[in-house]
Symmetry: C2
Subunit: 256 residues, 2 copies
């Protein structure tokens, strides 16, 4: 068998997430179909670096693909792109070691979350950000971002569904910035914010729960002290809702 590392970009809107499901269209399902067609074999395997949920996008998902076919990197990239739908694209292909593991071997992962506080945000952006049309105290939210940085037990920031050995994760960077962009001919997108979070790993829906918590902090419904307590010793109580999927992007996975 031959092992390849694929960097994949996709728009998640039309998919039930990365991970293959018994029913419904998934990104992994589409990638596997294309790989099967190229390698003319059923005996293939793919592992993604993160199970992006339904509607979540990826700017750079990393995938390990094991296929029987031996083929040049560029040839595999071109072949896959000619077979994949328009909303999934292979950005890069390289040979990988058989032992490479896209989750275990990653040093850090980065997510980006985009949201607008403007109810009048153009509908042309609706697949790409979420709208939270309230007046938020951005400075207070930036202080909360600093609290997230470090090694904490994020047990209050996970949804059930995936079993994990430990809920402790280290966040290296967490930054909330106003996001300036004219998005082309579409009405200028004012009041758009971008949260960038870089960490050694993420629990199920962790970033979206962090965003929901930040929103509550921005509304002063949740206090900074409550966040501090939850990160110091999980309480079993969530400090915010799960923010909508369409604002979330798996930006990058880094391997040493």
């Amino acid at each position: 068998m031959n092992t390849y590392k694929l960097i994949i970009q996709y728009k998640g809107t039309a998919y039930q997430g990365w991970q293959i499901q018994p029913q419904g269209k998934t990104v992994q399902g589409e990638v596997n179909k294309a790989l099967a067609k190229i390698s003319k074999c059923e005996d293939l395997k793919t592992i993604g670096s993160g199970r992006t949920d339904s509607g979540v996008h990826a700017l750079g998902q990393t995938v390990k693909a094991t296929i029987s076919l031996e083929i040049g990197n560029d040839e595999l990239k071109r072949g896959l792109n000619s077979l994949l739908p328009d909303d999934i694209k292979i950005l890069a292909v390289e040979r990988a070691n058989e032992s490479f593991h896209p989750i275990g071997d990653s040093e850090w992962k980065e997510y980006i979350y985009l949201f607008s506080t403007n109810r009048e945000t153009s509908l042309f952006h609706s697949d790409f950000l979420s709208i939270y049309p309230y007046q938020l105290d951005i400075e207070r939210m930036k202080k909360a971002c600093e609290l997230f940085v470090g090694r904490h037990d994020f047990a209050d920031f996970q949804c059930v569904g995936t079993e994990v050995n430990s809920t402790t994760r280290e966040i290296f960077e967490c930054e909330l910035v106003e996001f300036k962009s004219d998005w082309g001919i579409f009405p200028p997108s004012e009041d758009v914010f971008s949260l960038r979070v870089k960490g050694d790993g993420f629990l199920k829906q962790m970033v979206r729960l962090m965003v929901g918590t930040l929103w509550n902090i921005g509304l002063s419904k949740t206090h900074l002290e409550e966040l501090e307590s939850s990160l110091a010793a999980p309480t079993g109580i969530k400090l915010g809702a799960v923010a909508p999927a369409q604002g979330l992007y798996l930006n990058k996975v880094f391997y040493p």
Copy 2:
């Protein structure tokens, strides 16, 4: 009955165009459904200023709506927006005269067409522009744009399907410019061009045939003289293909 003028924005990707069809989802169908729900009446009528085709977007479509209900403009706008799907939005509502006709009364209409010549254009743009990945002579295309301006018989620039009394139309402005935008976090969209065409009316698929012709001129497959001849006296021969729908936007309809 009460008459309203609606300015509507929509993303055409999920629709079979503006005009209601016996089968399939249309923008007019969605607007009618929302109007029926608000006015609690079946006896309503809508007329659009242009029949945008399947996949074509509108930044400002104008629609005449006749309903039995008398309601405040803001209230109608809010009510419709709460019922319409995320990809259709009412931008403005005003009262109109019963005699108002969105096609007959318009002084000009403006379309915008976006395309990229870069094969590597990010998939996040795929609903919003078309990709024509060839080296084009933009200066020559700009000369062709000048030839379109004026009053001409555009018989070679229409597709069959809609009967018209005359194929003569006046183009007031036709401009091709490089379109600078970073489109936010998505990879910068290089080599994106925007064609803006303003005229007193447009035949079926006229703008998309103009774009297809401009592409051929940019490739030097079609000569400027051929375009001049066709506009002076239609030959029955098309000078280009119909450019894909996803790049086209009905930008604005102007009433004196």
